[in-house]
């Protein structure tokens, strides 16, 4: 890593810690790019981020996640606590572009310097989405935002990756017919620590909550271990409304109770260990890829792959050879 880049990262980290939101924003960009500056900053910030409570907020498209996140911010701010949000939206697999639209529902908090909202595209992260978002959350936590809400759309892989590294996964469910089926199909309930039936200001929310509770009881005999850590056998189902604020203070209190319980857990909270594992594994993979990208090694890699393609070499031998190449 170049010294100038490292110094830049350290400077950003120091300024961000001292309260510069612009430095924090720049820092998050470096972290997301997996740049040497971002790495230098994280080396400094990681030890200072131990108190973080990472809450994954997921649910079907349009379920009401962003509206609920905005309401949770309001509830937290009512007691003076700072809150950060990472809002993750899918990227186009073809162009790499993305529309990051969750902020629309959170703009009421734009003038508040104790609320920091950052949108992130899901794809193209070298160490994986989990590594990039956990690093971003660590940076936010070290800069005065111990509560980090991570919104992901529950349609595929992203929410599972985030659930694996979050302390708490909150699944948001809208009471409308059809959504329920979708939630089961997507396996969303598998990763739930808490379920919020939102749009509680509309008819049908209580019925939907009752149905969900019944469904979760049926499934309770299975061990739900999705995402590397055990989940509660029967996650609590609460009715809330992001629009009116109904039940939101109680939901925040439930999140806080989980956070407190995890802190006093004998030994280490399983979520912390899962997060550390995802981080270290992600960085190892990243380091291997970096070393492989060096021009001389790339040539060896190409030649080795050619040999496998023509069946002159088996892929296992090939992989061992490449590993010997990059390990000192």
């Amino acid at each position: 890593m170049t010294e100038a880049a490292a110094a830049h990262g350290v400077r950003l980290a120091e300024e961000a810690r001292a309260g510069s939101r612009r430095a924090l924003a720049r820092l998050l960009t470096e972290v997301e790019r997996r740049s040497p500056a971002g790495e230098a900053a994280l080396r400094l910030l990681y030890p200072l981020s131990g108190e973080a409570h990472l809450v994954g907020v997921t649910g079907a498209p349009g379920a009401g996640k962003s509206t609920l996140v905005a309401a949770l911010i309001r509830a937290a701010r009512a007691t003076g606590r700072p809150v950060a949000v990472l809002a993750i939206d899918p990227s186009s697999p073809i162009t790499g572009g993305a529309i990051l639209g969750d902020r629309v529902r959170m703009q009421e908090h734009a003038g508040d310097t104790d609320v920091f909202i950052r949108s992130m595209a899901a794809r193209g992260h070298l160490g994986g989405l989990a590594t990039a978002s956990v690093d971003a959350a660590a940076a936010l936590a070290a800069c005065g935002f111990p509560l980090v809400l991570i919104e992901t759309v529950g349609t595929g892989q992203s929410e599972v990756e985030i659930a694996a590294v979050a302390d708490t996964t909150l699944v948001v469910q809208s009471p409308e017919m059809g959504d329920e089926v979708q939630a089961i199909k997507a396996g969303l309930l598998e990763v739930a620590d808490l379920v919020a039936v939102t749009k509680g200001d509309r008819p049908g929310a209580d019925l939907a909550a009752a149905q969900l509770r019944a469904m979760l009881t049926v499934g309770a005999q299975h061990d739900r271990a999705a995402g590397d850590r055990p989940r509660p056998r029967r996650p609590e189902v609460v009715v809330v409304s992001g629009a009116t604020g109904l039940g939101v203070a109680d939901l925040l209190a439930a999140l806080d109770r989980r956070s407190a319980a995890q802190r006093t857990e004998a030994g280490m909270a399983a979520s912390r260990r899962a997060r550390a594992a995802a981080q270290v594994d992600g960085i190892v993979a990243e380091r291997i890829r970096e070393r492989m990208a060096d021009p001389a090694r790339r040539a060896i890699r190409e030649a080795t792959i050619d040999a496998v393609a023509t069946h002159a070499l088996d892929p296992y031998d090939a992989a061992d050879r490449l590993l010997r190449e990059i390990l000192p």
Binding site: R21, T95, G97, R103, Q107, A110, L126
Partner: protein, 135 residues
């Protein structure tokens, strides 16, 4: 290390309630490989600047139909500079009389795109004009 796509904030300052054009632009730029942060309708200059700062965007694209461009756009440029974001490219689109364009350029708006502008043209302009902000 990876190069990130160009990040664009699209906002609609002012009081009019139409964001069809802004949404078409957002989708078009996504299809051109940009990361588009969309903030929606009725944004005050302060809200635009705070979002641009937190999102660390390279470009702020403002869509404006209300006729208030001569006050809102220079104000946003000034607030961006105040926030240390003078290196962010500011562009505008929507309904802006050609006679007003020189004053907007003078105020720091890098380009004004009329209603019929092709997305490809906007994308090319942004690629050619964003500043390297990584230092």
């Amino acid at each position: 290390m990876s190069e990130r796509p160009i990040r664009v904030l699209i906002a609609k300052p002012g009081l009019d309630g139409h964001d069809r054009g802004a949404k078409v632009l957002a989708r078009g730029l996504r299809d051109e490989g940009f990361e588009v942060v969309y903030t929606g309708l009725r944004q005050t200059p302060e809200m635009v600047v705070s979002a641009a700062l937190q999102e660390d965007v390279d470009v702020v694209g403002l869509s404006i139909l209300s006729g208030a461009h001569l006050t809102l756009l220079p104000r946003i440029v000034a607030l961006l500079r105040e926030a240390g974001l003078g290196d962010v490219l500011v562009t505008a689109g929507g309904i802006i009389p050609p006679d007003d364009i020189p004053a907007l350029r003078e105020a720091g708006v890098a380009a004004v795109f009329g209603p019929g502008t092709a997305i490809g043209e906007v994308a090319d302009f942004l690629r050619a004009n964003v500043r390297d902000r990584s230092a």
